[in-house]
Symmetry: C3
Subunit: 403 residues, 3 copies
C-alpha cells in the first residue's frame, strides 16, 4: 500500500496536526493543562450542618490540576479512526492514579449509519455534558448535568454528525469510568441524543440549536443509585446535596436542550428529568429534576463556535500581545438548579448562581475567573439537616493551555 | 555534531516514523488499543467446584481494554537504541494503575555480540511469548506459554537478530513486572533462546522455523513458585488450574518450537517442559509440561510475516473499503494443553480448543473473533476438586488498532 | 491567525524539536530513561543499630528505573509556554503509581518581570536542586540539598533568566508533590534565588558563578517537619539519619552556592543553613546545616555547560563509535555533609564521599559509575542509636538515555 511510507505534513493549526497529502492519514497530538485555584467560604449554618453529618466544612483555599491530559487520535486509511486520551491530574493526589478518558476505535461507514464507535467515551446525553471541558463556558458543568448525565462509559454506538444541521447518536454502555457519582459499577445504559439547527446563518455566527436526549439505566441485583453534588467548584471538599443510596432497578432520564447564538451574544439552557424506579418495598418511584440557563457575551466581538451538535474552540479576533492585541473577553452568568427531593427522599435542593469572566489570550490559552454563590435548602439525608437557606461562596480561577 | 539540528522526515509506513536522511536517527511513535468483549459460560460441575474452593464461577458477559499502550522508541546516533512503552489498560480498573512494559536502553555493537540490552523486556523464551500481542494469531497466547515463560523482567542480555536465518539471545533477569503468575518477586532467571530457518524461499513466503529455549529460575529463601491459568480468555474471572504455592529453590524450563509457512497456510507448535526443584522435605521434584499446535489459513492469499525469530505484522493485499477491498481474512484453529499434575501435586490438567477468525481491515486494524472450549480434568488443589472432565465455553471479540 | 496552519520543522538537535519558521511555535518532545543497579553493604554496627530501630539493614543488590519520564513542552503564539512531564518509574513498584513532575503554564512578559509561571515545578532554591537530574554530576544530588531544598511544589513565581549574567526567581508554593521528605502536606513556602556570573569568558568555557537562595516555610496547625536521608543511593533501603517528627510552625532556609569552570576542570560547592522554629513547649529552635563540594575533570577536554543559572547538557567532542570516537569521560569526587543534630535533637550526622566516572557516549547517552562511602555518627532518634562512626559502602551504575 505505501511500501515507502506516506509523507506527513506536520503543522500547527490551533493544535498539533499531521496529515498525509491525500488526507487518508490525519493525526492529532493533543493535550490540556488546567491549573485551578479556589477560595471557599460558607455560612455558619451550612458548615455546622455538614459537620453534624460527619462531613468536612466548606471552607478553605485550595489548588489543583483539574485536568492534565494527553491524547493521540487520528484517522488512518481514511475510514478507521481512534483516540487514546489519558488524564494525569488524579495522579497528583496522594494515592491517586492516572485515569484513561476517551479511548475508542471506530469506522466511518460513509453511509447514513454514520460512524461506528467502540470503547470508552461520553454516552450521548446533554449538550453541556458532551461539550469538551476545554470549551465549556464556566469552569464546571452545571450541577444537574454533572450529576445526572451518564458521562463516560464503555460501550458501542452509532454517531452521525455529518449533516449540516442534524446530528444523532445512540448506543449501549456498560461499566463506568473512574469514580462516578453513581455508586454502582454494574449498571447499563441505553442512551441516545438528537440535535437540530432550525436556524443557521452567517457561517454559524447566528444559529438556533435544539436537542433532546433519552437514557434508560438498567440497575441489576444489589446495585444502588446515588446522586450527590458539590457546588460548581471541584475543589469544594464536601457535597451539599445527596440522595444517599437508593435501592432501585433502573431509571429513565430525559433531557431537553436549546441554544441561541446571536453573534457575540448567546444563550443556552437545558432541563433534565429523572424517573428513578425503586425496588419493591424501597419506596415510591422518584422524580428528580435539574436545569440551568446561561447568557454569554463576548465584549471583543467573537462568537461561540458550533460544530456537529456541540460547542467548540473560540479564536480571538486579535491574540493577546504586549504590542496591542487584547485577546477575547467573555462575560457570562448562569443559573442552575438541582432538586433531589421527591417522595420520602430529602436529598436537598441546590441552586447556584455563577458569574464568569473568560480571557482567551489566543486560541489555545484561556484564563477563567468564576464566582459561585450556592444555596442549599430542604435537605435531610446522610445526617445532614438543612431547613432554611444556607449558602456557600466560591471564587475560583483557572489557567488553561490546551491544544 | 549537529549544531543546527538534523531534519527528520515524518511519515506513515504502517506506523508513525521519523528518520534523518542518513538514517542515524530513526524514531517510532507507536501505540495499540485492544477493546475486548467476551461471553463466558461453564458446566455446572465446573462452577460448583470453583465455588466450593471460594472462587468465582466462570460465567458472565464482560468488556475491557485488554491493552492500551503508547510507546516511543528509536535509534539515535546510529548505535544507541531505546524503548519506553506504557500500558494504560490496567488503570481502567478500580484501584488499577498504569504499568510500564518494554523499557530499555541498548547499544548495537556491530559485532557478533549483537545488541546489548538493559532494562525491562521479555526474557528470551518461546516463539509465542516473544511475538508481539499485536501479531499473535489468537486473542491470547496459549495457556502453557502464558504461565510458564518468564515474561517481562528487568535484566541484561545480548541479542543477535541480524543474521538472515539465525537469531540468538541470552541474559540474566531479576524482578518481574506487574502481577506475574509467579508469586515470588525475588527470583532470578538465566534465559536463552536460539532460532534457525532451515528453509527460506520467496522472500519469506515459504519458510521453516525451528528454535529452542532454556531458562533456569533461581528461587531464594522463603520464596515460592506457583503456576495457575485462566482459559485462553483474559476476561474469565477465575483460574481453572492451579498448583498452589510450591516450596522450591528453582526450576529448569526447556522449550522447543517449530513453524512452517507455506504461503497462506501455516503451522506452529511449541512444547515446554518444566522441572521444579522443591525444597528439602517439600516433596519430590515435579515435571510439569505444556504444548500447543495451530494451523492458520489466509482465505485472501496473504501469508504470515516472519522477522528476526518472531512473527510480525500482516498487510492485506487489498485494504478494506466500501469501494471494494475486503481486507485480509484468516481462519485458525489451536489445540493447547497444560498439565500441572506431577508427583503429589494435583494442579489439574487444562486443554483448550480455540477457533478464530481474524479480519485485517488494513495493516493497522484488526477484528478478532475467538471461540474457546476449555476442558479441565483431574484437579485437587486450593479447595477445588475436579475429577471428570468439566468445561467452559467462551466467545470473545477484539477490536484492535495498533501503529 | 493561521487558518491553514503553520508548518513545523521537525528535527533532532540533541533532542526532538519542532519549530515554526517564525519561531512563534517551538515544541519539544522529551524523555529520559535511567536504569540503575546497585550493590550495598554496611558495617555490622550500622546494620544492627538500624535493626534495633525496626528498620531494614543497608545490605543487598538491587535494580530499578530511577526515572522513566516523558515530557511535552513548548512555546506557542511566541509568549505562552507550557510543560507537561510525567514520571512512570514509580509505577514499576508494587502498588506504585505514575507521578506528574514539572507541569506548568506560563507567559513570557518580555519585560523585566521575566516569565510568569503557574503550576508544579522546583521552587527556586539551590544550584544542585535546580539542575536537571539529566545533568547532575553524580547519580544523586548531595544529601543536604536532597533533604532540605523545597523541591517541586505547586505554586506561582516570576523568573527572569534572560540576562547574560544575572538570573532571579521568586514565588509562593503550596502542596508538595509525591512523597516528600517532609511529612506535612499543608505547608507553604515563599522562596527566591538569585545568581550572578562575576566572570565569564570564552563563551562559557571559563566562568565563575555565585548565588544565594532563601526560603521561609510556613507550617500550620498540627503539621510537623521531618528531615531524614538515605546515603546518596536511591536503592538503599533505609534512612541513615532522621530528626523524627518535629512540632514546628516554620523554618527559614538560607543557601549559598558557588561554581568555577576552568575548561575541563570545574568546582562546585553549596551551604544550606536551616533554622527550625519549634512550637511553644516543643523545645528550643534548631539550626541544622549541610554542605557539599565537588571537583570534576573531563579527561577528554569537554567542559561543563552553564545556562541561565544552572548546569546543562554536555556534548562530547567526539561521539563514541566503534570506528574511533571515545565519547566524553569525566572523573569527579564529592564530599557532602548533613548535620541533623541541634539542641536536644540527635538526628545524626551523615558524611558521604562519592567518587564517580561518567561516560558520555553522545549528547543523549550517559553511563555513570559511583562509589559512595557513607559515614554516620552521633545519632539517637527513632530507636536508632549510633555513637561511634558507622559506615556503608555502595557501588552503583546508571544507564541513561535522555532527549
Amino acid at each position: 500500500f505505501c511500501a515507502e511510507g506516506e509523507d506527513l505534513r506536520f503543522y500547527w493549526d490551533e493544535g498539533l496536526k499531521l496529515d498525509s497529502a491525500d488526507k487518508n492519514f490525519r493525526l492529532r497530538i493533543g493535550g490540556r493543562i488546567q491549573a485551578d485555584w479556589a477560595a471557599i467560604a460558607a455560612s455558619d449554618g451550612l458548615d455546622s450542618a455538614l459537620e453534624a453529618g460527619g462531613q468536612e466544612p466548606i471552607e478553605g483555599f485550595g489548588t489543583e490540576f483539574r485536568r492534565m491530559r494527553i491524547n493521540f487520535q487520528g484517522d488512518i486509511y481514511r475510514d478507521v479512526f481512534f483516540k487514546a486520551q489519558i488524564d494525569f491530574a488524579p495522579a497528583f493526589e496522594e494515592g491517586g492514579a492516572v485515569e484513561p478518558k476517551d479511548v475508542y476505535v471506530g469506522y466511518h461507514t460513509g453511509t447514513d449509519l454514520g460512524d461506528v464507535m467502540l470503547g470508552q467515551y461520553f454516552a450521548p446525553f446533554s449538550l453541556e455534558a458532551m461539550t469538551s471541558s476545554n470549551y465549556i463556558t464556566f469552569m464546571e458543568r452545571s450541577i444537574g448535568i454533572d450529576v445526572m448525565a451518564p458521562s463516560r462509559r464503555m460501550g458501542a454506538s452509532l454517531f452521525n454528525g455529518a449533516g449540516e444541521r442534524l446530528t444523532w447518536q445512540a448506543g449501549a454502555f456498560s461499566t463506568s469510568e473512574g469514580e462516578p457519582d453513581y455508586d454502582n459499577e454494574d449498571n447499563w445504559f441505553a442512551a441516545g441524543r438528537m440535535t437540530f439547527l432550525p436556524w443557521l446563518e452567517d457561517d454559524g455566527e447566528r444559529l438556533a440549536h435544539v436537542g433532546a436526549s433519552y437514557a434508560h439505566q438498567f440497575v441489576s441485583g444489589d446495585n444502588e443509585i446515588r446522586y450527590r453534588a458539590r457546588p460548581e467548584a471541584h475543589l469544594a471538599p464536601s457535597r451539599l446535596v445527596d440522595t444517599d443510596t437508593l435501592d432501585a432497578d433502573g431509571s429513565d432520564l430525559a433531557g431537553l436542550e436549546a441554544a441561541l447564538v446571536l453573534g457575540p451574544l448567546s444563550f443556552q439552557a437545558e432541563y433534565v428529568g429523572n424517573w428513578v424506579h425503586r425496588d419493591d418495598g424501597a419506596g415510591d418511584d422518584l422524580y428528580l429534576q435539574s436545569y440551568y440557563a446561561f447568557v454569554s457575551w463576548f465584549l471583543t466581538g467573537e462568537h461561540r463556535v458550533y460544530k456537529s451538535g456541540v460547542f467548540s474552540r473560540v479564536s480571538p479576533n486579535n491574540n493577546f500581545s504586549p504590542q496591542g492585541g487584547m485577546g477575547a473577553w467573555e462575560l457570562a452568568v448562569r443559573w442552575s438548579s438541582l432538586d433531589l427531593n421527591s417522595q420520602d427522599v430529602r436529598g436537598g435542593k441546590l441552586q447556584d448562581v455563577t458569574a464568569g469572566v473568560n480571557w482567551y489570550l489566543n486560541p489555545n490559552t484561556r484564563v477563567m475567573l468564576n464566582y459561585v454563590h450556592a444555596m442549599v435548602t430542604d435537605r435531610d439525608s446522610d445526617g445532614v439537616v438543612i431547613d432554611d437557606r444556607e449558602s456557600a461562596d466560591i471564587v475560583q480561577m483557572r489557567f488553561q493551555v490546551d491544544w
